[in-house]
Structures are given as structure tokens and as C-alpha cells.
Subunit: 407 residues, 2 copies
């Protein structure tokens, strides 16, 4: 698949911008704190949101806004989550009104997102004041500024775009996302915005988004904490000129493949840029009777504090991996299970049929010194299903970042 | 209830000892690595074990050994878990044989426990060699040495004993336990040994142990990782001379109250001595429609990495508390929920009806500087059920300890 530049503006008809509206202190990794993504025509749209019982007000608003399957603009701020905050509902609503006054967009077609500290009032007056500047800044080059505006503790910007063939035409899809704490696989997802010019019905867009999120963002964990604000929204404006995708088939598969490609990239990037992370952990569970089982085990491993701390310490402590598989709730036979740690430096088999293997500690240190560590778990079951989840190690910096995030 | 000295030797007929058998390096908090608890007559016995699908070999053996409800001796080592290890089954068996040769005890009445690193072979020859010395050392003063012999990363010994009235007689009960990592509430429990001279049927002993563990050890979490070796075993030798407890009633209640008293003490001590911990976190969820719901929410909060890191940083970040309640899976109404942080320094209401309250940051810092932090969550439901769970903060030292535990 061909990677192209442009991020969320790579698709025809989309522009974006990001700026400092005065919500975020300038000490954050990027001072931009307000992002806008806009399509010059209304889009078919779908969203996946947090399953946390405590939902931020913008999330509750967006769920309503997307009921008609149509949206045209996304406004998002960082630093304040507008969750459990005074006047939260009113604040989110005021953002849609302000944007509808400044752009040719219906108030009902504005998606509102926030990320950051829970419980504090969002300075909506600052946002209202910034909106004219934000709208004036919209351009085809604006994805970078928008991607930076949704960062909180992220250390790198998360943006990608690709082109793909669909119905004899060339379509484009791009996405931006933010991490990097309060990230856990049982979530809807975190903040992620995808744009495409492919023509696709709302129904098929929903289906493709659900499938994509299941296999990408729902398979990462930074810290086991599911956010109140997780949102993943896709806008599709149909400008690629392909015949609208209204059913499964070659065109749908092509779109889904493109969505999986960019969301896998973004999910991996989120995991590797998890708060304080020094290693990306990829856990692949294979030769399983079902994909669900493989996923449950893989998630349990990437979420184990002890496994995460061992990877930080470059310690081939595979017992913690098997232990985490064991308490995952999945039905498997430990005495048939093999474990291998892998990285660019090679493969280190550490466990065969549920029992420890002798291995060279020096070679182990070399394998575990690499940035990406792959934990392979072979269940040796009859089936050949597999699942891959991504996480990161648990470091001093995670504790440091979260010991004084709010103050 | 009257606290007395003696630990697991406080009850009539019990002796104990602990020593260095050569399994643990001398750099561990205590060099003792092998413990023995012995009753001079066979006991009614019950055990609760890990629900992890990966179970250590001694755990699998003990489940068999306890099927007849009788036991007389407990041998336990620290540093090597004998889980997923070469010759694990044979090793555990050899310990029972060696002990039956050295003491007047049937091989079938020996309980074997191990705690420590998973996957490495336990040096059973060293244990066999040490057993004569271990047996010779048995005394009424031996609880201290035994309690120290099961410590791994624990920084304090965990031991308690009380006396209680039962059927017109005075009975005694004592316990020792170890933490302090791989501790999570969905477990059976960790290593805990209780001894009593109360006369009680195996059936009622099982019932009382299950109820006690549910309300104490199953309500703590250090790191969300459920061990392969969790075991809680009680021996009751009947030497107090009371009429055997064979049904619910006043005597059963008296025993259960004593068991809850000592296990609550031990559970709190385990939580406050969690790996790297600098604060004991007590989360009380009250005014709930059911105890189960209160427990699910409380466990989710004490297990939240972000909440734990906030307490480490003395940050009154209640949004993380409500967020963790929200993803617990429990059905509650966030907009009716109140949260207050409490400690010896006072009460700090931070959230009312699911929305943030203004509070004084200086006073907040003072409240959160205390060693025990209580998180009160009032669900304001019709019911008045409650549950209390205990955990600890997430610190640099947790990462340090677990980054290089094995090597």
C-alpha cells in the first residue's frame, strides 16, 4: 500500500488546522491545544466511543450527533477532558454553535472531542474566541498542526496517510491520533480521527470501523485504565468518485485493508509512545483454537505490570508471561504452551511445554535490549488462529509522569 | 479481641521453625528460606488456592493432600516458586517423603508451599539436607523464624495471633503470611498459614476460611498479577477442648470473627508492604445496592495504575478514581456518586454528584501526605451495602524491584 503525505488532509476535500487557544500550559510537549478537521461537503460518518460508564460530555454529545450517520467537522482540544466537569454538557454544545456560526456547517454535523484532566472546567470562552482564527487557518497542510494540538503526554505526533484503489478509482485515507496514558484494550479507543474520500455508505463505514478498531486500537494497552473520552471517528466524503460501497466485496475489502493498515500503524505508535515507555511490546499468541482466546491471552500479557517491569529491566522473566496467560480467564493447556522472546537481535526460546528451558543470559540481554520486543506464545492447539496485541514497558518515567500529571 | 504473642505457635500443640537452607541469596530482606509448621496431633484442615490456570506443582499436590480434610505439617520455601519448573511435581513429592521420614507425620498430611521465581528448578536436595536441622529446631518460639523464612520482597514480617472464647473455652488462632508482588484480588490468595486449637469440623473450617478469604485477602491488590502459587491453609487441632463446631451458631461466629480479625490485619499489612509501596490505600464503597457491586468498584479503583501513581504523587486526582469505577463493569450512576479522600489529617470532599468540587490544594497535600489514604466512594443508592479493598501506591521502587527481580 502506497504511503503518501497529508495526514487527515490527504483525502480530497479535507482541510485542517491546529493552534494554541490558551487551554494548555506551554510546558506540554506541544503547545497547540485546539484542532479542527473540516470537509467541504457533508460526510458519511461513523464513530466508536469508550465503553466506560463514566463518559465525558463531548462523547455523549457525539453519540447523538452521529445517529444520522452524517458529520462534516471535528473540533478537539487537549489538556482538559471536559469529563465530570462543571457545565460540561453546555460547554460541548457551545462549541458546535460557535463552529456552525463560523463555517458553512450544520451544528448537528460538528463532532466535539476533549482529552486531558477529568473534573476541571473547560475554558469554552477561550475556544469561542479562537474559532475565527482556527477557521481562517484551515488548509491542505494543516494535518500536522492538528495532530500536534491533540497531544497531551505524547512525545511524538501520530499521523499517517495512504492511497488505495477502489472501484477503478484511487482513494485516500489518513488519520491522526493521540495517546498516551489511560489506554486499555477494553476501551472503545482513544482520540483518533480518520478521513477518506472513498464513497461508502454509513452502514458499511460503521462495519469497517468496528472491525478495524477491534483489531488495532482495542489491542493496545498502556496502563489498563480505560478513559472516559475514548473516541474514534471517521469521515468519508465520497470525493474519490468511486461507486459507493454499499456491501461487502472487493471494494469493501480494499477500504478495510487501508483502514487496518493505518490504524495498525497508529496503534503501534501509541503503544511505543506510551507514557514513560522505553520498549514497544508486541505479544503474538498463535496456534489457538479461536482468535478470541488468542486475544484474551495476549491482552492479559501486555497488561501485566510484572511482565512490563521485567521488559523494562531486560529480564527474560517468562514465568510472568505464562502466569499472566494463566489468569487471563482463557481456557488453554499450560503444559502444551511454548514461549519465545524475539527482537531484531534474534529469537530466544525460554519455555517449552510449560516448563523452563536453559538459555544464555548474555544473549537474552542482547535480545531484550532492542526497542521492539516480541513475545511469541504458541498454544499448540488444533486451530491456527492468532491475535497480536501491543503494549509498552513499565518505567520510572510512567510513575513520574502520573505522580504529578494534574498539578 | 485480645491480641497475644506466639504467631502460628500461639495455639496449643503447634510448633514452628525457619532457617537458611541455601535456596535464597543472602541479599534478600531475610536470609531464612525454609519454614516448618507442625501440630503434634493431626488437624482438620482447609485450604484456598490460586484460581490461575497455571498452578505451581506444590499447589496441585496440596489440593490432593487436602481432599481428606486432614493435615499436620506445612513446609514452605521462598525464592523459587517451583512453578513451571523442571521436575516440579517430583520435587514437591520428595519434600513430603523427607518430612514423613523425619517427623511422626503421614506423607499424606504434609502441605508443601513454594514462593518466588517461576520456571527455575527448586534445589530439593538442599531442602532434604536441611530437614533434620529444621525438625530439630521446632519450638513454641519458632513462629518468628518461620514468618521470616517465607518473605521474598516483603520488608516487614507478617504475623499475628489472638485468643477468643468458644463453647466456654479459650481458643487461640495465629497466622503468618507473605506478600508482596504478584498480588491481585481475583486470586485464591498468596501464602498464608493459620493455626488454631479450636475444635471445628473440616466442613465448617472450609466454610469459615472461604468467607474469611473473600473479605480479606481477596480484597487486596498490589499489581493486578495473580500468582501461580497463592495458598491459604488453616490447621485446627482441637486442643482448646471446646465441643467441636459442626454447624453455624455462636461458636462458629466466634471463630469466624477471630479469623476475620487476623486476616484483615494480615491483608492490610500485605497491602501496605506491597512492592515499593509508600502508601496504604483503603477504598471504601458504600451506600450500594449490593456488596458485590461495592466490591467490584472498590477493586477496580485500588487496581488502577493511574490512581496508584496519583496517590504516590500526593495528587488529589479524583477523576482517575471515578474513571476506574466507570470501567469496573459495575452498574451505577456516576451522576449520583460522591468521592472524599480521607486520612488522619482530615476529610477532603472532591466530587459531588459526579462533578468536581473546589478544594484547597494545600489542605489536599496535607491529607495525602499521610501513610494511609482512604478513598470513600458514596454511590448514594437505595441500599446500604459496602465493601472495603486495600492496595498501595505505584512508585519508582515498584519498577526498580520488578525490573531486576529474577537476575
Amino acid at each position: 500500500m502506497k504511503h503518501i503525505s497529508g495526514g487527515v488532509c490527504a483525502a480530497e476535500g479535507f482541510t485542517a488546522f491546529g493552534m494554541h487557544a490558551g487551554i494548555k500550559p506551554t510546558s506540554m510537549p506541544d503547545r497547540n491545544d485546539l484542532a479542527l478537521i473540516y470537509s467541504d461537503v457533508p460526510c458519511h460518518s461513523a464513530g466508536v466511543f469508550t465503553t466506560n460508564r463514566v463518559k465525558a460530555d463531548p462523547v455523549m454529545l457525539d453519540i447523538e450527533q452521529l445517529k444520522d450517520g452524517q458529520a462534516q467537522a471535528i473540533i478537539a482540544n487537549s489538556f482538559i477532558a471536559n469529563a465530570c466537569a462543571p457545565e460540561g454538557q453546555e460547554t460541548a454544545k457551545r462549541e458546535t454553535v460557535a463552529l456552525a456560526n463560523a463555517l458553512p456547517v450544520r451544528q448537528e454535523d460538528v463532532i466535539v472531542s476533549s482529552t486531558g484532566v477529568i473534573g476541571m472546567r473547560l475554558n469554552v470562552e477561550a475556544i469561542e474566541k479562537a474559532i475565527p482564527t482556527l477557521v481562517a487557518g484551515l488548509s491542505k497542510d494543516g494535518s500536522d498542526a492538528a495532530a500536534r494540538a491533540i497531544m497531551t503526554t505524547d512525545t511524538v505526533k501520530k499521523e499517517i496517510s495512504v492511497e488505495f484503489p477502489v472501484g477503478g478509482k484511487t482513494a485516500h485515507i489518513g488519520g491522526i491520533t493521540k495517546g498516551s496514558g489511560m489506554i486499555h484494550p477494553h476501551m472503545g479507543t482513544m482520540l483518533c480521527y480518520l478521513t477518506t474520500d472513498a464513497a461508502v455508505s454509513t452502514e458499511m463505514l460503521k462495519k469497517a470501523l468496528k472491525e478495524t478498531v477491534r483489531k488495532t486500537f482495542n489491542r493496545i494497552s498502556i496502563d489498563g485504565d480505560m478513559s472516559t473520552n475514548d473516541s474514534c471517528v471517521i469521515l468519508a466524503n465520497g470525493k474519490a468518485g468511486n461507486e459507493e460501497i454499499t456491501a461487502e466485496g472487493e471494494d469493501y475489502d480494499s477500504l478495510l485493508t487501508a483502514m487496518l493498515e493505518i490504524c495498525t500503524y497508529l496503534a503501534r505508535l501509541m503503544a511505543s509512545d506510551g507514557e514513560g515507555a522505553s520498549h514497544l511490546i508486541t505479544c503474538r499468541v498463535h496456534n489457538a483454537d479461536s482468535e478470541d482466546k488468542a486475544e484474551v491471552i495476549s491482552k492479559s500479557v501486555i497488561n501485566s505490570s510484572l511482565t512490563k517491569a521485567a521488559i523494562f529491566g531486560a529480564d527474560a522473566n517468562w514465568g510472568r508471561v505464562l502466569c499472566a496467560a494463566g489468569y487471563s480467564g482463557a481456557d488453554f493447556d499450560p503444559s502444551k504452551t511454548d514461549i519465545t522472546f524475539s527482537s531484531k537481535s534474534g529469537d530466544l526460546p525460554v519455555c517449552k511445554n510449560g516448563r523452563g528451558l536453559d538459555f544464555d543470559e548474555d544473549f537474552a540481554s542482547k535480545v531484550l535490549a532492542e526497542e521492539e520486543i516480541i513475545i511469541n506464545i504458541d498454544l499448540n492447539e488444533e486451530g491456527n488462529e492468532e491475535a497480536i496485541c501491543w503494549g509498552c514497558d513499565l518505567t520510572y518515567d510512567y510513575v513520574k509522569i502520573n505522580g504529578d500529571y494534574r498539578t
